[in-house]
Amino acid sequence: MDHSVLMAILLLSPFIGFLINGVRYKQPTYKLSGGIATAAVFISFICSVLLFSDLVGLPADQRKIHVKFFEWLSVDKFKVDAAFYVDQISGIMILIITGVGSLIHLFSTEYMHHDKGVTKYFSYLNLFVFNMLILVLGDSLLTMFVGWEGVGLCSYLLIGFWFTDKEKAAAGMKAFITNRVGDAAFLLGMFILFSTFGTLNIQEINSLAPTAVETSWLGALTLGTMFLFVGATGKSAQIPLYVWLPDAMAGPTPVSALIHAATMVTAGIYMIVRLNPIFIVAPNTMMVIAIIGALTALMAASIGITQWDIKKVLAYSTVSQLGYMFLAVGVGAFGAGLFHVMTHAFFKALMFLGSGSVIHAMHEEQDIRKMGGLKKYMPITHWTFFLGWLAIIGIPPFAGFFSKDEILWMSFHSPMGSPVLWAVGALSAGMTAFYMTRLMCLTFWGKSRVPKSVHPHESPAMMTIPLVVLAFLSVVGGWIGIPEVIGHTFGHIPNYLGDWLAPVIRPIPNLAPADHSLEWGLMGASFGIASISAFVAYHFYVKSPEIPGKIAASIKPVYELVFKKYLVDELYFKTIINPLVEISRKIWFYIDVNFIDKLTYIIADLIKGGGGVTRSLQTGNVQVYAMYIAIGLVVALSIIIIK
């Protein structure tokens, strides 16, 4: 089939699904709505596969399918087309989006069946996929921005899906506005790049990037990429704009899986990977990205340890993992970042869907203190979740191990990395292992603390099939990117992903050849840290559940601070939002009401007063009027005579 037709179907299929479900938004027929939506995304998935296979068929240096539909906006020299292209990077992304997307749609069909707004839900979900595809495929930054804002919008709609709850509506708003901060920075980044390169076309920028020379430590490239990165921190929930993501768990769980774990939140990393040629020539930005990524990974992981809400734990875990990805791209390991995007999409989607299955079984209970011992009630969920757990804490040969290890190795080895970054990364890997094990223990293992009124049960097949598929992917997903050191040892297994991405990823300058023994050592160290903390967690939460409480009590202030998420929300409220609202009130009251209006009143009063004075001259007495005539006469004559 012609590529433009394929591309059109790929993009429009979810959009048409959105329209169909959008028009019949009141229907409660969840099977039909879910069917339409899943089919729409599945058609996209097929198109993606076809496009991807076409891409594979092309020679390595020409792997690019570019389709232009129409000229979108052209003013003077600024020209943006409604054009899309698939290359090695976006090819992987569309597979993830439509593949994981169809699974999650399928899961949702069952999960949301009791909800009245199920059709509306599916229309939003399809709209999201549509926007995500635009984001990923757009051939210019502006087209990407269309999807960028579009997914933010869908996220807003889906987080606030149960809008009758004030908190949830507020969470949606928070997500959108926080994202908007990032978007504003993204806009500025685009302006700077346009001023520098005279185009917003991603390929043109990438090909021009090596010729650009950074003149100062904060030149156009650094500034531009920095702003783009701020945009990415908004979308991908990094410090300082990560605050919306934990709140975003107010949305339905499949949404958290699709949008807030697998796809949308990785848009920031995707954007940086796609623009890697300009990021690599802005080392200052790269440093900032790596530091922010590492800090986010550490901070979110530490918060994750203290949370009691199953989805909150996963949310902080997502923030932490996203931090990893930024750490990766920050040290120049773009391929590793994208690799982790992919594996993370598998196992985090799996875990979110698993948690959805649990929540579903527990009748909307999300507090892990009221769970425990669910293993025997829901075996499939447990086992799939178990595999996801192994993947995320980095047990070989599960998916997470390879991607995470590559990131840690690169953060040490890359000239842009440093041992400190590695240490932070390894520490957060340990924390990840700890809180994930804690989650496993409290939810599935140990004694049951389920209230009497709740009778947990395994979810129906429509929900477990996606779990199984994702679990499978979480196991094998990492095998396409087996690092050279392992591949070499086990008989020349190639790093498929690395080779695939090589033409579009700019290599790290001055990269020393890898020292295999050091790599093995670090790998062992990080694996050791992860397994020890997993073991400790198991001991704490299954064997002797009283210990964590004691530890928490002994370091109460610190625990409280972490449990309350370092009070960042409160800080933002205190230092930004409340003052802003207060200032708004003040400027309105003092400037509009009491200054400008008062001023106009004063002018009016002056005129009125002037009128009053002249009015008092109108005594009504004819003789006084006559006197005025006489005075006028005197004045006129005086003037004549004096002249």
Binding site: T614, R615, Q618, G620, N621, Q623, A626, A630
Partner: protein, 108 residues
């Protein structure tokens, strides 16, 4: 202008000064008196003063137009007196008052 000839040599200026003095007297009457009728009389004085100037000019420029103007002025003065007095009568009939102070309906 030497004072000796001022008394003996009657020029246009003499008439004009006479006219202006009479005019000012009339104006003083209009401004200062309270009785509507006296004010009307003062108005007549002013008109007469102007007439003197006209005639004087007419004489000294040998132009008959000045006299015609006086003729017009007198006619209008008569008309004005008639109307003014009619108004005074009307007002007096209504308010039993001729003091101008009582008629301040034009107060702003």
């Amino acid at each position: 202008m030497p004072s000796s000839s001022f008394l003996t040599d009657i020029s246009l200026n003499h008439y004009l000064i006479l006219s202006s003095v009479l005019f000012v007297i009339g104006m003083a009457g209009v401004l200062l008196r309270r009785n509507v009728i006296v004010i009307l009389m003062s108005l007549e004085l002013m008109l007469n003063a102007v007439n003197i100037s006209f005639i004087a000019f007419s004489k000294f420029t040998q132009n008959v137009d000045g006299q015609i103007m006086v003729f017009f002025v007198m006619t209008i003065a008569a008309a004005e007196a008639a109307v003014g007095l009619a108004l005074a009568v009307a007002i007096f009939k209504r308010f039993k008052e001729v003091n101008i102070k009582f008629f301040e309906h034009l107060r702003g």
